[in-house]
């Protein structure tokens, strides 16, 4: 035990947090979400000066509509892959499906949230966070449920004639309300209020956390940021499953460049969305 602990604290090891599948899915969601936002949000804020500029830059509403549909297919693919992964996980897992390191919300998340607010206000120490924090679980499940709602309503409006063979016409009214509001909610949550900050902007990760792009992070960072998972793995002796040798310098530089580029683009996307939303309010 002591030997493995020494090894982990050595500088030449990294903690492997996300598999290639999860990273691929994040890339898929990221690209399609940006694409859908850039081509869709101008429709919602149609009176904004920036919406017209954006539509002209894309090449018109018809071109934007085509890109929106291509990106929608990619976004739906993420959802299908994720559902498949969950089904496979539940079927093949030997231990309990719900456990401390699970993405499923539990009692500890409620306690952690209260603990974080106490820490924010200087009334306690920071809670010992698990593999997935409560805000990460919110991010994951909000996106998962949101994709179902926005994808479903989007498909209804993509094929309105087929939809109204089964459902009454008012279903299209409901679909429009869902699609438009869910898009605004999702963009607000991801760009402004939750995801960009909690994943990349919080002090532990600032200015950008590369773990979702590379899959790994320095072991000392892991021990500091996820003490509960670390303790669980130490106790269960499963630390070797997630600790690997540090990748070579070329690979590290590659992921550093990817993270930087994505961060710059994310700042652009967030500012652009804010402009679209705030412009009509200001003028």
């Amino acid at each position: 035990m002591s030997q493995s602990t020494d090894a982990i604290e050595g500088v030449n090891l990294v903690y492997h947090r996300f598999s290639a599948f999860h990273r691929f899915n994040h890339y898929l969601v990221m690209v399609s979400f940006f694409g859908l936002t850039l081509t869709g949000i101008p429709l919602k804020f149609k009176t904004s000066y920036w919406s017209q500029l954006m539509m002209d830059a894309i090449g018109g509403v018809a071109a934007a509509g085509f890109i929106h549909r291509v990106m929608a297919v990619a976004n739906i693919l993420y959802f299908v892959l994720e559902v498949g992964y969950m089904a496979l996980y539940v079927v093949t897992r030997k231990g309990p499906v719900f456990h401390d390191d699970s993405i499923v919300p539990g009692k500890k998340d409620w306690a952690d949230m209260k603990g974080m607010f106490r820490w924010f206000l200087g009334k306690g120490s920071k809670p010992r966070l698990s593999r997935f924090t409560y805000w990460e679980k919110f991010d994951f499940w909000a996106l998962f449920a949101g994709t179902f709602l926005i994808g479903g309503s989007g498909l209804m409006m993509w094929f309105p004639e087929a939809t109204t063979r089964i459902l009454p016409g008012v279903a299209l009214n409901v679909a429009l309300v869902i699609h438009s509001n869910e898009a605004f909610l999702a963009v607000g949550v991801i760009f402004i209020f939750v995801h960009f900050f909690s994943a990349h902007g919080r002090p532990e990760s600032f200015p950008a956390d590369q773990v979702i792009f590379s899959g790994y992070l320095p072991v000392e960072h892991y021990i500091h940021d996820r003490p509960d998972e670390y303790a669980n793995r130490l106790k269960a002796g499963t630390l070797e499953e997630v600790v690997r040798p540090r990748p070579d310098a070329g690979r590290r530089r590659f992921f550093s460049v990817v993270t930087t580029l994505v961060t710059i683009f994310a700042f652009f996307a967030a500012s652009y969305t804010l402009l679209l939303v705030l412009w009509p309010l200001a003028f």
Binding site: M116, F117, P160, G169, N173, L185, G188, V189, I192, P218
Partner: protein
């Protein structure tokens, strides 16, 4: 001495001295400008009627002055000032003023002081060139209003109320199609807002010319109330109307509601509940996320966590 007339070209040539030939060349060269001469100058003899451009120029001597103000008419105040640049850029820009102002008399103030002028002559003026459209309009509900005087407080729309007058637009342009909802909204207030919130309205606003607007579903010159069986949107006609753009549409497709404000209690209950539910959800999530973020940043700055190298 009797001169004999020259009988051959050679003899004729001898008759011309060098100086005569030179004079002929000069005369021919001098006539070259005549090739570019146009007969316009000959009309300016003060007797012939003024040509169209000249006629308009006379009107605009006064009416291009911005200080002219407006005059009351049965259709509300009318601006007497005409911007020549706007008029010339309009679809009628080549027509002289009196092709539409058929009631023009020697004293222009007789014409403009007649409050009935617009109702009586405005349509007739358009009819001179647009007879088919005018007949359809006469049969429409809008046309009916001009004859009946309309219901109380309802003013019958004339050609110019929808098409504009001195700024009249080409109807097949994107700009005109984009302006239709606002034009209809002048009388049918609120309907244009709900239309602009549909995909048809949003995409048209941002430049998709093919998107349906008011007249594509309700009809244009021959427009009738939806309650009239002849209306494009009556129970009999609504499906073919939708099928103009959605060939595979079925009867259920036609029950989509274009003019709905989801957050109004007039909306179908399900639409209303979903809209209000989302509003509440968005406010709660953004507020909670915003507060959480602010507090996290506060703690991070307070404890100097942002200045640590690598953040850990």
């Amino acid at each position: 001495m009797v001169r004999r007339a020259p009988t051959t070209a050679g003899e004729l040539g001898k008759k011309f001295t060098f100086s005569k030939r030179w004079a002929l060349c000069v005369a021919l060269v001098a006539m070259i400008p005549a090739l570019f001469w146009t007969p316009s100058a000959s009309a300016a003899d003060g007797v012939a009627p003024p040509d169209p451009a000249d006629f308009s120029a006379r009107c605009l001597t006064c009416h291009s002055q911005e200080y002219l103000g407006s005059v009351e008419s049965s259709q509300g105040p009318r601006d007497l000032h005409i911007d020549p640049a706007v008029y010339e850029a309009s679809a009628h820009g080549l027509l002289p003023c009196n092709s539409c102002h058929i009631g023009f008399s020697h004293d222009p103030h007789v014409m403009v002081s007649n409050a009935e002028f617009f109702a009586e002559t405005a349509g007739e003026a358009c009819r001179n060139c647009h007879d088919d459209q005018f007949e359809m309009y006469k049969q429409s509900y809008h046309g009916e209003l001009t004859r009946d005087g309309g219901a109380e407080g309802v003013k019958a729309p004339l050609c110019v109320d929808c098409h504009g007058a001195h700024d009249i637009a080409e109807v097949d342009t994107l700009e005109y199609r984009q302006s239709i909802a606002d034009v209809c909204g002048k009388c049918h207030g609120g309907r244009e807002d709900s239309f602009l919130d549909t995909y048809h309205g949003k995409s048209l606003s941002l430049g998709r010319e093919a998107s349906a607007t008011c007249v594509d579903c309700h009809g244009d010159h021959s427009i009738l109330p939806v309650s009239n069986p002849q209306s494009m949107l009556s129970q009999v006609n609504i499906l073919p109307t939708c099928q103009q753009c959605h060939p595979s549409a079925t009867q259920k497709f036609t029950t989509f509601l274009v003019h709905v404000d989801p957050t109004s209690t007039d909306a179908p209950l399900l639409v209303f509940l979903v809209a209000i539910g989302y509003l509440a959800l968005i406010v709660c999530v953004f507020a909670f996320g915003g507060i959480h973020t602010m507090l996290y940043i506060y703690r991070g700055l307070r404890d100097g966590l942002y200045s640590r190298k690598g953040g850990h």
